[in-house]
């Protein structure tokens, strides 16, 4: 709503502006409707072209992939890459592993992040240090902690299990979840919670029954983001899992690098198979995602 309004007012400002000064034209060139459309097209191409190229590659004969760099297949369209991709590598198992890890770790992240953030904001838990520390762990490169993490996971005998990876992903995605949920909770008027206390809710009930329903779009948007992060995660998956049993999709896809060289066609088919679930998820939740990411919360 807000977005639309500001766009309209910009538009009408251009129409209403009678003095066609240089500043006006400059503004129009950079921020006017044609400029926005061109920008949008550039962005869309940047995102769609690689995916389209992968899709086309997955439909080319293996020999053609090696000999021609053309975007569209020249010879016949074939499904051989798709069949081989699933036959040569346990792709479905990898996808299933990834789904379990991403879903469970996201649920855990949300269960921990919502009360943590609420407590930090409303009860000043941990003073200034705790929130700063959380943000600090977020900006730290994960490779720095890869060895200690490996040691810890091994200590609790969870190496090469989905559970181990779930725990590590939960930990890794907590900071960003806290950081995202922060703004949603801040947008809720404090009085709403105080009204609930006076009306008879405990602090925990207030969080669960008043705050959470109000920040639901934001929590869902955060969930989608951590789900994608977990789905894409490579480093921890690489060092913590080493078998079909627990390898996730990003690790599994490297299996197409075989003795006979890179299987580009199969790899493209597999990559596409891994992208599709995420696209469906984002498509289904796009309304919530946009609402959650733009609106930030509720006005009282």
């Amino acid at each position: 709503m807000l977005e639309a309004k500001s766009t309209n007012s910009l538009e009408s400002a251009f129409e209403a502006n009678e003095k066609k000064t240089l500043a006006f034209y400059l503004k129009w060139v950079f921020f006017g409707r044609p400029a926005r459309i061109i920008l949008l097209i550039i962005f869309l191409l940047a995102i769609i072209l690689p995916i389209f190229y992968i899709a086309m590659t997955s439909l080319k004969e293996p020999i053609e992939i090696r000999t021609s760099g053309a975007l569209l297949p020249r010879g016949e369209i074939t499904t051989v890459n798709w069949v081989k991709a699933f036959a040569n590598v346990p792709l479905l198992r990898y996808l299933l592993n990834s789904t379990v890890v991403a879903l469970v770790s996201t649920i855990l992240v949300l269960i921990v992040a919502v009360p943590t953030t609420y407590s930090i904001i409303r009860f000043n838990t941990g003073g200034w240090f705790f929130p700063a520390w959380i943000l600090g762990t977020y900006v730290m490169p994960p490779i720095v902690v890869s060895i200690p993490i490996f040691a810890m996971v091994k200590m609790v005998q969870l190496q090469n299990t989905l559970a181990g990876l779930i725990l590590v992903h939960t930990m890794a995605n907590l900071p960003i979840a806290v950081w995202l949920i922060d703004s949603y909770i801040r947008a809720i008027p404090k009085e709403l919670e105080q009204a609930a206390w006076i009306d008879g809710y405990s602090k925990f009930e207030t969080l669960a029954r008043v705050v959470v329903p109000l920040i639901r779009p934001g929590v869902l948007a955060t969930g989608v983001i951590t789900l994608i992060l977990s789905w894409n995660e490579f480093l921890f998956a690489l060092i913590l899992t080493y078998g079909v049993k627990s390898n996730t999709f990003p690790i599994g896809i490297s299996r197409y690098i075989g003795e006979h060289g890179l299987q580009f066609g199969e790899m493209s088919a597999a990559a596409l198979a891994g992208i599709v679930p995420i696209y469906i998820l984002v498509f289904l939740s796009s309304r919530n995602l946009v609402e959650g990411l733009t609106r930030g919360g509720v006005k009282g």
Binding site: P189, E191, L192, Q194, A195, A196, W197, I198, D199, G200, Y201, S202, E205, V210, P213, L214, V298, K299, G300
Partner: protein
Amino acid sequence: MACVELRNVWKIYGGEVEAVIDASWECQDGEFFSILGPSGCGKSSTLRMIAGLEEISRGEILFNDQVVNKLPPSSRNIAMVFENWALYPNLTVYENIAFPLRVRKMPKDEIDRKVKEAAEFLNLTPILNSGVRHLSGGEMQSVSIGRAIVREPAVLIMDEPISHLDAGLRARMRDELKKQVERLHVTTLYITHDQVESMAMADRIAIMNLGEIQQVGTPLDIYYHPRNDFVGGFIGEPPMNFIFCELLQEGDQLFIVTPAFRMQLDDEGKPQFQRYSGSSKLKLGIRPEDVRVRLQPLPNSITLVTDFVEPQGDRTIISLRLNDSDILLAQVLGSLRPDVGQPVYVTFDQRHMHFFDIETGLNIKNLE
């Protein structure tokens, strides 16, 4: 039903900011008690301590002679109407009003009866099933009152409940609110920065400034007998005039002398000085309606020049020039409209002249 008592209550933030300083007052059972003061005077902190939303730094708060310092808000049997109404935006009007009853696990049919009763009382029946997001300000306010009264609290706390409404609606809601609260016979604490609201609605008012209680009394008591210059200046519109003056005794005559005029105190103005023995330098406070303006000279009148005239129809507000920087406001009948620059003759209603100590600001009537 309950009476509320504050005994030497302090609120200190972070060990140094004193938001409420040694507040002591008592509000009777069923009384409409207003806490009035400019923003930042500590009235909201006071109320939040009474509601249990904030800890009491020092002192005691009692409901019906029971100390409630350690009780959580839900156990104090209070209800609160917030400045921004704090309605649950994802619930309907019905669900908002039913909320405190549902939390308390009341039987369904009893909830239904009580909600409908409250809705009837507040004329909310036609919109019971609509969401609260798109209600008008007045309707939201009614819903929040409905939520507050539905479980028959011992104390109803209202924190600037109508200051978000526009002026016309505010005047109407003032009457409406007063009537509703009267019918409920519930002890009401009403917090506001608007003296008009307090004067119109409250049985008694506590005026606060800079964390300290300035005066507690009935509206008229506060109006006619301000304890200090702050109370005098805060209550009344247009505000009280303050003029620095010196008291001069000649025989048994008393005069007040300012750089702009010298005026003899008559039998109505003199009595308050009978037992006065303090400094002769004082601050004179006189309300604009107690300044009398004539176009012909009167005995003991002073001559001032008209600086500005504000006709309001039924009355005229005249600014009179005392000197280069100070003016004296007078509120007179609408038929009197002197020209700008015209000299006029001014007397004061000496019964309503207030004299304040320059250092402490206290009304000399309070000094022994």
